[in-house]
């Protein structure tokens, strides 16, 4: 919490200097904030070009209308994430095809085969994902995330990939902490189901059938 406050203070100082016309302050602010915004947009869209466009729009908005940011309503980071979400939604409305749908059964099969690798009988101790990298499952996990509904995908990106606390994610998503928690639990369950989906035997085992 203290670190968050320090971050906010540093952001406020940079923002004030930026408003006074200090280009270096704007550059510092951009370098501090843009990676998280870019990655958020990238994970949410699965499209690097779109993620870059969204990042550009977010900081253009900060340049053109800095008065829209009200410190009393939240941190600068939350404000920027809010703009990013709005731009993503607009783009999705314009180009729905930009949301990748990972329905490739081969990829899921690979993932599930890895995830549940064992002796094929339900009583065997489940495998871990220790060699996920070797099986190149990172891309599959990313695709599984991209198939989640937007609200669930957002909390996974912020809480799991950006490693935000529930409070920080709640501020960024403009929703209550309890909502973030319940969405994340639901999203993780959905992810497990998706990664398990192509392996009905294992799934049945997992459910005790």
């Amino acid at each position: 919490m203290e670190m968050t406050q320090n971050t906010d203070l540093a952001d406020d100082r940079l923002l004030r200097r930026m408003l006074a016309g200090d280009e270096d302050a704007f550059a510092d602010l951009y370098r501090r904030k843009h990676p998280a915004i870019y990655r958020f947009a990238l994970h949410m869209s699965g499209n690097p070009a779109l993620a870059e466009d969204v990042t550009q729009e977010v900081f253009m908005a900060l340049i053109r209308e800095p008065g829209r940011f009200d410190p009393a309503r939240g941190s600068l980071g939350a404000f920027l994430f809010g703009i990013a979400r709005n731009h993503l939604r607009k783009r999705w409305e314009q180009e729905r095809r930009l949301v990748p749908i990972a329905q490739d059964s081969d990829e899921l099969d690979d993932f599930i085969a890895f995830a549940v690798s064992g002796n094929g009988h339900g009583n065997a101790p489940p495998s871990t994902f220790d060699d996920l990298d070797a099986l190149d499952t990172i891309g599959r996990v990313r695709r599984a995330i991209s198939t989640l509904p937007e609200n669930y995908r957002g909390v996974v990106v912020l809480c799991e990939l950006e490693e935000m606390s529930y409070e920080e994610a709640a501020e960024a998503l403009s929703c209550p902490v309890g909502t973030v928690r319940s969405r994340l639990h639901r999203a993780r369950t959905m992810l497990l189901d998706k990664l398990r989906e192509a392996h009905p035997v294992r799934r049945a085992w997992a459910r005790g059938k």
Binding site: Y38, R39, I138, V141, S165
Partner: protein
């Protein structure tokens, strides 16, 4: 702990500040006694590993340097525009302030001359009626003209309005008698005035006409002027 409680908590085992983190030991103890929950826990841990790997791998992802350059240019352009706008506003504000100060100054200057007329008006109603003329005269005389001077000038002006100027009599020998002598008001007949060279045709149709005569120190009349009936009233 039962399976339902386990499912509520097992996603938060590694997240400090949550109920799952607080009940971590109980959750793990339940997983050891329940194979179904043990599998769920293992899958959750595997998912955590996968997500961590994904996060670590993409942690360095960021937009291209070209974007920063583009945004800096936009910032410079936007700031230049706003600076020009701010300068224009400042010039407009300063101009407005200057006009207001000038107006205020003129108003105060105008008011500083007005109290004399108002004051004299309170002392002399006729002066108040002629305040327009007073202002003109005061301008030529000076702002520090006293009230009495103004009133005197008005009286003299009023006199000159109702009386003609003195006309030297034909036999007068002392042209400076007016300074040392006296003015005597008399009533003359029209023929007598005409004989002294005064025009009496446009006077009121009365037998006797009032006139002022300057009498020198030795008692000899030196000059005469007609006095209008209205000034006598």
């Amino acid at each position: 702990m039962n399976c339902f409680q386990f499912e509520e908590l097992f996603h938060d085992l590694d997240r400090p500040g949550t109920d799952g983190f607080a009940a971590r030991d109980s959750v793990l103890a339940h997983a050891e006694s329940c194979s179904r929950c043990a599998l769920l826990l293992t899958e959750a841990e595997s998912l955590d590993l996968a997500l961590s790997a994904l996060s670590a791998r993409e942690n360095g992802e960021q937009a291209s340097p070209r974007l920063e350059k583009l945004l800096r240019e936009e910032f410079r352009r936007g700031h230049a525009v706003s600076s020009r706008r701010r300068v224009r506003w400042q010039i407009a504000a300063l101009s407005t302030a200057a006009v207001m100060l000038l107006t205020l100054g003129l108003l105060l200057r105008h008011r500083s001359g007005t109290p004399t007329g108002v004051q004299s008006g309170s002392l002399n109603p006729s002066a108040a009626r002629n305040s327009g003329a007073n202002a003109t005269n005061a301008g030529s005389i000076g702002a520090d003209t006293s009230t009495s001077d103004v009133a005197l000038a008005e009286n003299q002006q009023a006199d000159s309005d109702s009386e003609t100027s003195f006309v030297p009599l034909p036999y007068a020998d002392d042209s400076m008698a007016g300074e040392g002598g006296a003015i005597v008001r008399v009533m003359h007949s029209r023929p007598a005035l005409a004989s002294l060279g005064l025009r009496v045709t446009d006077m009121a149709d009365t037998d006797r006409v009032p006139a002022d005569i300057i009498v020198s120190e030795d008692g000899a009349p030196q000059a005469i002027r007609l006095v209008s009936q209205s000034s006598l009233d």
